[in-house]
Every structure is written in structure tokens, then in C-alpha cells.
């Protein structure tokens, strides 16, 4: 059984799951394997790995929400991306895998009063995930862009390591030979094998509530030519639309307590660096990350195909534009921070998409500048001839003295700030003042609505969050299944 985008069967299921990303797909597999009758609703299409070029505009058109043009308004605004397809963000992200940091687990458990939230248990779920997704480091040759990050960090004595990825490789495979083990290749087929059904290209318009319980879901088709609105009834519903859609769905259903008020992201600024050799591998993202200044600041590499190189130079095109024709010699790197500031997600009646805002504090803005400057220093130590920081009026950086010009000219309000990690809009835990759901994702104030995606994470963990999302989703789904077993 695979996914379909046409509704033919009966309009009911036992467990409805909204969204098929890292949270939704794992929930579906666990619950289906425990014998539940699961239906997954996915707004986007099913696109197989390999059908589109990774990080291309075509991928953004087909597998990202709004073609990738989504933004959290603020000063500065923060561009973000959401997956919108079967498998969600896991189909389009870098594939980097990081376990939830023990510090983050302890902090969440303590500050949000999460019951039965033990690092040991979560990390053993991570081991399962690692096996299922064949998480591993690159067996063979790294890309030059990857090695540059490692070499620069090593020259400075800055702590760095290779982040494993959920990819499979042929024997001794190089970094570029990795096959992404996304949800469409792992947990979704597992869910189908256990009897789960999936309806793609259908959007949840509304959860209908009655007496504190969700009774049905109203859907409409998103693919052209398929016009019928549909109603699905269910016993329980798991909302796994991601940190932006999940709070909007809950708000529209009247479930508002602490929903959409504490969006947490990893604000990120970038630079492009030019070397005297070809370093650009358009489809691959570097696997090394620098953790010397973690959790406050981390450095890594970004997708760098020519369109993205041009994009990174736009902030100061007049001075930097000439480098675009040398794009094979350029690679893009980022500095990401953990943010003190938070944002809002608010559904607006009658309007299709929620409004998203984010506020960076003074410390956040200063830390972005300090991070980008340290990254530029790393690039110089790695042998870069020229560094092009991505902010308006950025000077060309060729040596250490230029770093002073860069730090003097930096302002986060003039930088292209973005994020690809969004969390915390329906935080979990027993501390009702701070949480929207209980310790296992059950939404406060509803008897049969759960959240099981990145919205649950009480804050952004300071590392790539997919593993954290999956471990928590599996934990919560197992609890749901166990409570109903026997």
C-alpha cells in the first residue's frame, strides 16, 4: 500500500495523523505496528528521493511550502523554510544527525516539568533511529568544502567534528554518494507495511471540536483538478504539521493555551568564501561542524550551487558580484546561534496562512556578529583568498585587519538572517504556565488531540533537531499505544 492523492475509501479511521515529516511518519509507523488503524493526511505531494535535484528551485517549488519563500517578520525578518511534502523536512534538509544534547534534555525536564523524561531512555530510542536510518559518517572521500571547514577549525584549535548523516553509502562511498534515508524511504514504508493509509495533496482546513474533543477533520484537495472537500472522522488525532502549521491548526480549533507564543529558531547568518581551487560541490552540504563556541554559536556549511552562491552575494552585489562567475571556487558557510528571543505564530480567521513573527534580542544580534566574524577568521585560516559576508555594506575580507572593518560594519538588521530549524510552538510538560501539551504531547484542554512534532520541543536544542523530534515522537507514540494496549 502506498500513498494516494485521491480519496476513495471510507471517511473514517481510528487515528488521524496530520503531516508526514519526522514527527508524523514515526508516529504513524509506531501506532500502525501496534495495531492501530492509522490514516496520514499530507498537504504536499509524494516526491521520491532523486526525482528532483537537491536544493534546486524545482525542489523548492514541489517540496517546500510557498516555494521556500516563507518569512518570520521582525527587525530583521528571518527567512525560514518548511517542508511540505510526504516526509516533510526530512526530504529536503541536509541530512545531518545530532542526538539531543544531554544539557538540553535536562533543561527541558527541569524547566517544563516533563515526566518520565530520562536521557538514557531517549538516547536508547536514538540508537533505534540510528539503526533504522543507517546513521553514519562518510566512509570515503569528503568534499573539499567539507574539508575546508575541518582544516580551518584545526588550524585554530577549535573543537569540531563530523556530523553523521542518515544516509546509506555504497562500499567506501564518498560524501556525494550518500543516499538520503528520509521518511519516504524508511518510516513511511514501515507504516504502510503495518497497514497505515496515507492521503497526499490534501490540506487540513479545520479540526471540528465538540465538548473538548476533536470529532472530525475537514480537508480540501491541494492538487489541481481534484476539487472535493472531504470530512474524516476519527477517535484520536495527532497534529504533526511542524512548528508553524501545528500551532495554527490548534488555534483554529480553539486550542490556544501557550500555543504559538514561544517559537524558537536557530538564527543563522552566512558568508561565501573563495579559494584558489575548485571547492564547490553543488548538491552536497559539508558534514563538519565547529562546536568550539556551542551551544551559543555553531559553524557549518550550506548548499552552494550557483544560484545560492549568487544569492549569498546579493547583499553587496556591487562589490562582491564579480565573484559569481568564479562560483566553482566559492562555498557558502553559516554561523548559527541559539536565540534568547522568541517568536509568535498566529492563525488569522479567514486567512490561509498564520502570521509568523520573531524578535531577536540585542544579545542575539551581537552574537550573530561575533559568530560571523569568528567564521570569517576560520575561513582565512583555512586559506580563503576572499571572504564575502552576507550583509548590506559588508566589506570584502582578505586578512585579519579587514575583520575589524567587518565587525564594525555588521548589523543584524542589515544581514540576511535565516533559519531552517523551527521549534517550540506547543511546548510539552506538566508546568501548565509554560506548556501547551502534557508530558506526552496531549494538548491541554482537549481529550483526544496530540501534538507530536518539533512544536513540542521546549526550546531549540542548539543542534540539528531532527533526532530530538524523532526520539520524542517515538517515545510519545509508544506511550499512546501502551496506554491502549490490552
Amino acid at each position: 500500500m502506498t500513498a494516494t492523492n485521491e480519496w476513495t475509501a471510507t471517511n473514517e479511521c481510528e487515528v488521524l495523523i496530520i503531516g508526514s515529516g519526522a514527527g508524523g511518519a514515526t508516529t504513524a509507523a509506531i501506532l500502525a505496528e501496534a495495531g492501530h488503524d492509522v490514516l496520514i493526511i499530507e498537504e504536499g505531494p509524494w516526491v521520491d528521493q532523486g526525482e528532483v535535484v537537491p536544493f534546486s528551485l524545482e525542489q523548492m517549488d514541489r517540496q517546500y511550502r510557498s516555494g521556500g519563500v516563507t518569512v518570520a517578520l521582525g527587525i530583521p525578518s528571518i527567512a525560514y523554510t518548511e517542508g511540505r511534502c510526504a516526509g516533510g523536512g526530512t526530504e529536503v534538509n541536509s541530512g545531518l544527525y545530532r542526538r539531543p544534547p544531554e544539557q538540553a534534555i535536562a533543561r527541558w525536564q527541569r524547566d517544563y516539568a516533563i515526566d518520565d523524561f530520562d536521557a538514557g531512555d531517549l538516547l536508547s530510542i536514538c540508537e533505534e533511529v540510528e539503526e533504522q536510518l543507517t546513521v553514519q559518517t562518510v566512509p570515503g572521500e569528503h568534499t573539499r568544502a567539507s574539508e575546508i571547514l575541518r582544516d580551518g577549525a584545526a588550524a585554530l584549535g577549535w573543537q569540531h567534528d563530523e556530523s553523521p548523516r542518515w544516509m546509506s553509502y555504497p562500499e567506501g562511498g564518498r560524501a556525494v554518494d550518500g543516499q538520503r534515508q528520509s521518511m519516504t524511504r524508511t518510516y513511511l514504508p514501515r507504516a504502510f507495511a503495518a497497514g497505515a493509509r496515507m492521503l497526499t495533496e490534501h490540506r487540513l482546513d479545520r479540526l471540528v471540536m465538540s465538548g473538548g474533543a476533536a470529532t472530525s477533520a475537514q480537508l480540501s484537495a491541494t492538487a489541481t483538478g481534484v476539487d472535493q472537500p472531504t470530512t474524516i472522522t476519527f477517535k484520536s488525532v495527532f497534529v504533526c504539521g511542524g512548528a508553524i502549521q501545528t500551532p495554527a491548526i490548534l488555534q483554529r480549533a480553539g486550542l490556544r493555551h501557550r500555543v504559538g507564543r514561544t517559537l524558537a529558531v536557530h538564527p543563522t547568518v552566512k558568508l561565501a568564501a573563495r579559494f584558489d581551487e575548485n571547492v564547490n560541490t553543488p548538491d552536497d552540504v559539508p558534514v563538519f561542524q565547529v562546536k568550539e563556541f556551542a551551544p551559543g554559536i555553531s559553524f557549518g556549511g550550506s548548499a552552494s550551487h550557483p544560484g545560492l552562491v549568487a544569492l549569498s552575494l546579493t547583499d553587496n552585489w556591487r562589490e562582491f558580484g564579480a565573484a559569481v562567475t568564479a562560483w566553482p571556487e566559492l562555498a557558502i558557510y553559516y554561523a548559527a546561534i541559539t536565540s534568547q528571543g522568541r517568536g509568535w505564530v498566529q492563525a488569522i480567521p479567514g486567512v490561509r496562512d498564520p502570521i509568523v513573527t520573531y524578535r531577536l534580542t540585542k544579545r542575539d544580534r551581537a552574537l550573530l556578529g561575533q559568530g560571523l566574524a569568528r567564521l570569517a577568521l576560520l575561513m582565512l585560516e583555512a586559506g580563503a583568498d576572499e571572504v564575502y559576508p552576507s550583509f548590506k555594506h559588508a566589506p570584502l575580507v582578505r586578512n585579519r585587519a579587514d575583520l575589524a572593518k567587518m565587525t564594525a560594519a555588521f548589523a543584524a538588521t542589515r544581514a540576511s538572517v535565516m533559519t531552517v530549524h523551527l521549534c517550540s510552538t506547543a511546548p510539552m510538560g506538566e508546568n501548565h504556565k509554560r506548556t501547551a501539551t502534557n508530558s506526552f504531547g496531549k494538548v491541554h484542554g482537549a481529550s483526544n488531540v496530540w501534538v507530536n512534532d518539533a512544536a513540542l520541543l521546549p526550546d531549540a536544542p542548539g543542534v540539528n533537531p531532527q533526532a530530538s523530534v524523532m526520539a520524542i515522537a517515538i517515545r510519545n507514540a509508544r506511550r499512546f499505544a501502551d496506554e491502549r494496549a490490552g
Binding site: G296, L367, Q370, R374, L377
Partner: protein
């Protein structure tokens, strides 16, 4: 730990009349200090009165009086030294709170360049340049700490001039001079200038401005720890061009500093009022803007500058100095403050 160099035949010290310079000279000349050394000391001072005191201290001392911003001062300082087997230089001369903005560049930047050039011509063995945290700015987060290699982000006029001095040091290294740098943050200890005394008085009277909760971290260095760091940087045969943070073991929060100083004053018999002056963080931001304004219009106001720094974190990591130089700061904040207070009392300074 590699074998240290022997102490040189001649040690040239600039800024010998200043706080750090005075401490270095006293240590080198003493009979029982850990860092005492034989050999001659060639000292540069700006004030002729200091020359008199220093000349009288020992017949191993030769004093040159001059303004370091003039190129001929450096020539005078190194006269006759290139026939000497081993000459080391410790360059402490600098200006932190000037009368006019132009002094920053003239003294800290041009002055350093003059010394570097003259040292090269004299064929000196090794030079230690005393830099600062100021070329690197402040830490954006209270938990952030400056490592041994950081990008420049100079803090106002002083920071720019000290950064320029570091760039001149790097140029000199490229030309073959064996020069290294130590970077001390906020330093304290005997022979401290009047502003440190003011600091003690404010704590004693409960009026030290603690901004925004006092969690911001500040690294400090007691003068004896700094002297140790300088001597180790001088005598450990490392590659040229390196720089090391020289500070106490760890940074302290501002609240901790105020409390420790309060306890030290009490232990030394002073009557200390509990600190009542807690101000919001924004006061520091405003003072910083006023400081910026004054510096832009070429007037320098010490109070606003110091207040503007008070809500900042400036924390440094000494592990490179520990590893490369065997630097091991012994004096704790509490002991260091007590010794400073004792010195003030011995000098008859009212706190």
C-alpha cells in the same frame, strides 16, 4: 615544558613609570622576588620625576626620559645596545585614558612602531608587547569566552590603537623580529592608579553601579600574575607572533567582584556598606553611546567610558598560556584585593 631562556644581559622596559612598569622593575631588582634577575635594566619613562626615583633604586638601572610618540625617543632608548649579547624588551608604555583622542594613535600605535623598529635595528633577542582585550571587543553572550585567536572588533579609540599596534607587531614578525604579545584584561594590584582607588571607595560606600543583575563576567589579572605571564612569555622559546591571554584562572561576575572586594575591605578593617546601587542594563548602553559621542567629537570622558563597559562581558580563556608557557596564576581575587587595599593604606591613600 621546554627549557626556558636565561635572563638577558639587558632588559629594556618602556612605560617603567606606570603601574605595570613599576611592578616589573621592583620584581626584577628585588633580592627575593621569584622573578628577580641580574643584568642591567634600560628604562623609558615620560616623567622626569620617575627617572629620579628609578635611578636611585639601583646602579643597574639606566633611565631614558622621553615621549614614546617621538621616533627619536626609541633611538635614544636602544642606543649602544646592539653590541650586547642578549637584550629583551618589555613594552608596557601606553595610554588608556588620554586627554585627547589623537594620543591613542600617537602613543599606542606609533609609539609601538617606533619601539619595534628600534628593537629590530638593535638586534634584540625577544620582545614582549603588552596588548589588551580591547582590540577584540566584548563577548556577545555572558557565557562566551575569548579563545586564544579571535577576530578584531576594536572597542572605540583605545581598541583601535591597540589593534593597530598588534598589526605592527605582525608586520615586524614578518620582517624577522622575535616579538610576542600578552593580552591582560582589567588589572589590579599595588601601585594602582587613582581610578582603582575610586573603585574601592565606591564599593566601600555601597555605591558601585551594578548594572542589570551583575551577571556579566569580567576577567581580571592581579599584577603579580601578570608579571609571571610576561616573564614566561619572554623566556619561553616559542615561535614569534603568538599572543596569550594573561589573566586570573577564571572570569568573575560583576556581582562576585563587588562582593569579594567588599569582603576584602571588611577583612582589612574597613566599614563597608551593602551595595545599593543596582541600575538597569540600559544605563550601560546609554553610557556607551555617550562615550561614542564624546570620542567622535574628539573629547574623551573617562567616567562614561568606564560606565559604558560595566554592563559588558569581557572574559578570556588562559589555557593557551597555561599550555605554552606553563603560566599558573597563584593569587586569588580575594588575596589580590586585600594586598591592593593594604598597599593603599601603606601609601596613606584614603579609601
Amino acid at each position: 615544558m621546554t627549557q626556558q631562556l636565561a635572563t638577558p644581559d639587558v632588559t629594556v622596559i618602556t612605560g617603567a613609570g606606570g603601574w605595570l612598569g613599576t611592578g616589573l622593575v621592583a620584581a626584577f631588582l628585588s633580592d627575593d622576588h621569584e622573578y628577580q634577575r641580574a643584568g642591567r635594566l634600560r628604562l623609558l619613562v615620560r616623567d622626569p620625576a620617575d627617572a629620579v626615583t628609578l635611578n636611585a633604586a639601583s646602579d643597574r638601572v639606566e633611565v631614558v626620559v622621553g615621549d614614546i610618540s617621538r621616533a627619536d625617543t626609541a633611538l635614544d632608548l636602544f642606543r649602544g645596545l646592539h653590541d650586547v649579547d642578549s637584550v629583551d624588551v618589555i613594552h608596557t608604555a601606553g595610554i588608556i585614558h588620554p586627554n585627547k583622542m589623537a594620543d591613542f594613535d600617537a602613543v599606542n600605535h606609533q609609539g609601538t612602531e617606533h619601539i619595534l623598529r628600534a628593537a629590530e635595528n638593535a638586534g634584540i633577542r625577544r620582545m614582549v608587547h603588552v596588548s589588551s582585550n580591547s582590540p577584540f571587543g566584548t563577548n556577545a553572550d555572558v557565557t562566551d569566552t575569548f579563545g586564544h585567536d579571535e577576530p578584531f572588533h576594536p572597542y572605540f579609540g583605545y581598541g583601535r590603537s591597540k589593534m593597530d599596534a598588534e598589526l605592527r607587531v605582525h608586520d615586524a614578525v614578518d620582517r624577522g623580529l622575535n616579538v610576542v604579545m600578552v593580552r591582560p584584561p582589567w588589572f589590579y594590584g599595588p601601585h594602582q592608579p587613582a581610578r582603582q582607588t575610586t573603585f574601592f571607595t565606591l564599593v566601600r560606600t555601597g555605591r558601585f553601579p551594578v548594572l542589570g543583575g551583575g551577571n556579566q563576567r569580567r576577567s581580571m589579572v592581579f599584577i603579580d600574575n601578570l608579571i609571571e605571564g610576561i616573564v614566561r612569555a619572554e623566556l619561553t622559546p616559542t615561535a614569534p607572533g603568538l599572543g596569550w591571554w594573561i589573566a586570573d584562572e577564571r572570569a568573575y561576575t560583576v556581582s562576585e567582584i563587588v562582593e569579594t572586594v567588599g569582603c576584602a575591605l571588611t577583612a582589612e578593617g574597613y566599614d563597608v556598606k551593602a551595595n545599593r546601587l543596582k541600575l538597569p542594563n540600559v544605563v550601560g548602553d546609554i553610557a556607551e553611546r555617550v562615550d561614542a559621542f564624546f570620542q567622535r567629537i574628539d573629547k574623551y570622558n573617562q567616567q562614561f567610558h568606564v560606565l559604558g563597559e560595566m554592563n559588558k562581558t569581557i572574559a578570556v580563556d588562559i589555557s593557551a598560556a597555561q599550555r605554552d608557557l606553563g603560566y599558573s596564576p597563584d593569587v586569588s581575587l580575594s588575596d589580590g584585593m586585600r594586598r591592593s587595599i593594604q598597599w593603599c593604606r601603606e601609601q596613606g591613600i584614603e579609601l
